[in-house]
């Protein structure tokens, strides 16, 4: 009986160990100095006046075993301006500035009511948090930090009901070399996920305010 109990405990321990290993992407380990990372991100965000970069987006549809690709340009300017411009295969412009979200498509401009667009609100909040180094302060998510040799990984799990229905979790990959976000992975409850890879990044090039004014 005692031997059975011990073997049960061993099986349970191995299962839990395997589960905890699977929950963390390969090559990443839990980060012990989270406070150090928070400070470094905040300092870096203070130095980053603006960012311009290309992005490639891929929506992975698990059950359909298929993907949808798109790409465009991304701009950020301190402290709350974001421009996401899809250029292929469709034209879609989203600008966030001073708490307003504006969308332009096929030449038509519309202001988005963020109260009715929780998805857009949540994604844009995440974008801004990533740029401003305030991911840990986002009250909609709990944040777990891990790291590999080259990157930090922040795994955001929804805690507020408004965001729980939208995402299973969001992963933010940050380069250790420059503390800039290199990839965002937004996973939906059903398992489908959208990956945004940022490339050709340029910092502090004094980008114009006009980019964040849509007419």
């Amino acid at each position: 009986m005692k031997a059975l109990r011990i073997s049960t405990l061993i099986v349970l321990f191995i299962s839990l160990w395997q589960f905890s290993t699977l929950a963390q992407p390969a090559g990443f380990n839990t980060l012990s100095d989270v406070h150090g990372l928070k400070t470094a991100l905040a300092t870096n965000a203070h130095r980053t006046k603006d960012i311009s970069s290309d992005f490639a987006q891929t929506k992975h549809m698990k059950l359909l075993n298929d993907k949808v690709h798109s790409k465009g340009k991304f701009f950020y300017k301190q402290a709350d301006k974001v421009r996401i411009e899809y250029t292929s295969p469709y034209q879609y412009l989203l600008v966030m500035s001073g708490g307003m979200i504006m969308v332009k498509e096929n030449g038509k401009l519309s202001k988005v009511n963020t109260r009715n667009s929780q998805t857009m609100q949540a994604i844009n909040r995440i974008m801004l948090d990533c740029m401003r180094g305030t991911v840990f302060e986002n009250k909609d998510f709990s944040v777990k930090a891990s790291h590999s040799a080259q990157q930090y990984l922040l795994t955001l799990t929804p805690i507020s009901n408004s965001v729980k229905g939208l995402f299973k979790h969001i992963e933010v990959y940050i380069n250790k070399s420059d503390l800039q976000v290199s990839k965002l992975v937004m996973t939906e409850q059903g398992g489908d996920y959208t990956e945004m890879n940022f490339s050709n990044k340029k910092l502090n090039t004094s980008i114009s305010d006009a980019l964040f004014s849509v007419r």
Binding site: Q57, K59, M61, L63, L64, D66, K67, V68, H69, S70, I84, Y86, S88, P89, Y90, Y92, L94, V103, E105, N106, K108, S110, N116, T119, M120, I123, G165, L166, M186, E188, Q189, G190, D192, Y193, T194
Partner: protein, 226 residues
């Protein structure tokens, strides 16, 4: 007396009100070279297709709304179909599926769209476009001199598929009193049943429209998907 005259006038107007398709002339199928009366022969065949989708309308209180995104359609070898509507940023609005016997399933839908009437409306749109849950055989051929009309009876009302030079140009769902849904199709391939590259769906009763524009590039129809 006044109210009697008013009610009589209304009844008279109702009796004389034009019913849709009253001017159509029924013709024998033989007059329609190349047009089959079998639903299966029009079922579009494709691997997958990606559309830019814009929904516009007015609420019952008259407030305008607009929603845009991407509509992804996929046919599987086992006869199942999926239609997924997602935002440009990737979030799924809904994911509908039909099995090989055309049994419908909602795989996923966001809370804001999870309304039985809306699901039924969208389901009917896609079933009309994809020739699902239709009778095997048409109930008649008609013409107005410009288009040929192929009619299928539905559990409620009927649907006409409109052809011009053997190419499908439109789909109209109606009852005996009025049209309910009018679809305009442009850019359909002539050699085999396919999905149109431009689809405009007007919901006349519900007061909203859906505009679909196929996304393609020079390499292949499905270059944006894999």
């Amino acid at each position: 007396m006044r109210s009697f005259l008013f009610v009589s006038g209304l009844l008279l107007w109702g009796a004389c009100a034009p019913t849709p398709y009253k001017d159509l002339r029924q013709v024998a199928p033989t007059e329609h070279t190349g047009l089959s009366d079998r639903a299966l022969s029009y079922k579009p065949s494709f691997d997958k297709a990606l559309y830019e989708c814009v929904v516009e309308g007015k609420t019952p209180l008259g407030k305008k709304y607009r929603l845009s995104g991407l509509l992804f359609l996929k046919q599987f070898e086992d006869g199942t179909d999926r239609v997924v509507f997602q935002s440009q940023m990737g979030n799924t609005f809904f994911d509908f599926g039909w099995d090989h016997e055309d049994q419908f399933t909602v795989h996923r839908i966001i809370a804001q769209m999870d309304k039985p009437a809306l699901i039924a409306t969208l389901r009917k749109d896609f079933e009309l476009l994809l020739f699902k849950n239709l009778p095997e055989q048409a109930s008649g051929f008609y013409t107005d001199g410009n288009y040929h009309y192929l009619r299928f009876e539905l559990s409620k009302g009927f649907v006409y598929y409109l052809f011009q030079n053997q190419q499908m140009r439109g789909i109209e769902n109606a009852d005996e009193k009025r049209k309910v849904v009018v679809m305009q199709l442009n850019g359909t391939a002539s050699e085999a049943p396919s999905l149109a590259s431009h689809i405009h769906i007007a919901h006349l009763r519900a007061g909203f429209t859906i505009r679909l524009t196929k996304l393609e590039n020079e390499n292949s129809n499905d270059a944006t998907t894999e």
